[in-house]
Amino acid sequence: MDSVDSAMNEWVAIWMNLILILAVVFAFSAMLSWIERRLLGLWQDRYGPNRVGPFGVLQIVADSIKLLTKEDWIPPFADRAVFVLAPAIVAITTLLAFAVVPIAPGIGVVDLNIGLLFFLAMSSLGVYSIVLGGWASNSKYSLLGGLRAAAQMLSYEVFMGLALMGVVMLAGSFNLRDIVAAQENLWFCVPQILGLATFAVAGIAEARRLPFDLPESENELVAGFHTEYSSMKFGLFFIGEYVGITLISAMIVTLFFGGWLGPLLPPLVWFLFKTFIIVACFILLRAALPRPRYDQLMAYGWKVMLPVTLVNLLITGAVVLSMA
């Protein structure tokens, strides 16, 4: 009987862990839409949404009610099945990628020994959502947005993986918990500063955030790949985007800023605090920088970022070899 009981307890613990993480990720991503608007306001000498609830924290509730009660319109010229499927993919892949993020000791969904590869695979799958959404909408703007997304995300994917290989070399593992443990003495943001810079740029491009939001670019493509989307399908794209920002920030923290490591405060608080700082930096980037032209974006990726990543890889490899 005892073994059954303990097995039960383990199951309960795992499910509690899972549901809590899902709830917190969703809540944080939802709040992020409010946080982003407040921060953008702060940096643009205005207030941002501060009407609904104290300081406007209930803005997301109002937005959700509005989104859910909007007409869920599928254009008659759209490819129906793919059109419905596309927004689900981005939400599912980004949430799945969250499974491997080591939030704190004992908190996390799975402890994969190829956690980093799983994260890269899932974030690459996200591009299907954008491309399929753009294709299935069957309109010029969406198609152009989808095309840009495909080219942009493929070229930035190349050095996104390569930028992380330096971290893997130093830690000697693909397991994210091992990588965090390897930063006990020195965070990887110091020896891997080039890796951090390139991964951050690639991460922003992966999350389709300004200044790399060319698939969306409101002022030339209406809304890019989600021009034809409305109601909660549109909302799902946004959930995907905000979970994506949180994911990239959490990964930057895990890989370069020592994850949950930190003095005095409990590990969970350190992790959340660092993640929030990185998210705020992403939002500052959006507030400050204009969107580059499309050819500039491609040239930047292939001619600047990829060589920098390769140089970083060579140097790290040489150092690791000479130390061994």
Partner: protein
């Protein structure tokens, strides 16, 4: 790259600037006195209607939102029998105020005129008339104009010499 970082730093420093937003329903914006808002009809210092129903405002109005009918009282003083402004048409251009020869029609710094019912935007004379003189406190049209009106004959206006009888041969 350096430029981008500098831009980000400058934008970050804006966090400590004063907000430019005026949170309108909570705090009122500072509206200049010449703001072209809700239209009123003013009275002269004696408390009489300034409007002489000359139709110039209605003629000047580019959207034809002013309707009025002239009439006279027992002293021969002209005034509007009705005066109606349809504010759902009014574009607040201020041409009526410029056209008015007696400073009767004036635009005020009030803009909070929202209504749920479109009909309520049609203002009648009793809605338009105010008790004061508006922007021109001392001005009294009939006390400076040369016409004879109840209680005031020709030559009795302010700054006016007594009228001369051109048929009299006396010096």
């Amino acid at each position: 790259m350096w430029n981008s970082l500098k831009t980000m730093w400058i934008v970050f420093l804006h966090m400590f600037r004063r907000r430019v937003t005026i949170q309108y329903p909570d705090e009122m914006p500072n509206i200049p006195p010449r703001w072209r808002g809700r239209i009123i009809l003013s009275r002269d210092p004696d408390g009489e209607e300034r409007c002489v129903a000359c139709y110039l405002c209605a003629a000047a109005c580019p959207v034809d939102c002013i309707a009025l009918q002239a009439t006279e009282d027992e002293h021969g003083r002209r005034y509007p029998e009705f005066f109606r402004i349809n504010f759902s048409r009014c574009i607040f251009c201020g041409y009526c105020e410029e056209a008015c020869p007696t400073d009767a029609i004036q635009l005020t710094p009030d803009f909070e005129m929202g209504e749920y019912n479109r009909k309520n935007l049609v203002y009648e004379k009793e809605d338009l008339l105010i008790d004061g003189t508006g922007k021109y406190p001392g001005y009294n049209f009939y006390r400076v104009a040369g016409v004879a009106i109840g209680g005031k004959n020709k030559g009795e206006a302010e700054n006016e010499a007594p009228s001369v009888d051109p048929h009299s041969l006396l010096p």
